[in-house]
Assembly symmetry: C2
Homo-oligomer: 63 residues x 2
Amino acid sequence: MGRVKLQIKRIENNTNRQVTYSKRRNGLMKKAFEISVLCEVDVGLLMFSPSGRVSVFAGNNKR
Amino acid sequence: MGRVKLQIKRIENNTNRQVTYSKRRNGLMKKAFEISVLCEVDVGLLMFSPSGRVSVFAGNNKR
DNA sequence: CAAACTATCTATAACGC
DNA sequence: TGCGTTATAGATAGTTT
């Protein structure tokens, strides 16, 4: 997506890599939430950022 | 996406819910892979389908 | 610097075989 | 039932504020 097609390889620029991480992390969490609701499945998603922060999403159909 | 705007709620039709699960599961795994490479982060993704099957993605930047 | 914008790319809902 | 196509909604790379 975006203005240009992006090659799937490590983003060398530190700032840009961090910005992209923030954006895509949000998108990935949203997608995980959506599939858990739409399809009534249990989903667990874990991301460990280079800075040591962890993002977690857990969606389950029992709620 | 798709032909119509989709409400984020359980898909009632069993067949359609299964089809949507297959498609979105693939999309979600791909996204997880991409963020792990682009941003050099460790990512774990787990999905438990209603039929009992489990899908796992694990991407880490040590490889 | 981070938040918002927007042009463009990608994912996917409905459809067709 | 499953796989490929098409039209469109959604995500996002680069830009602007």
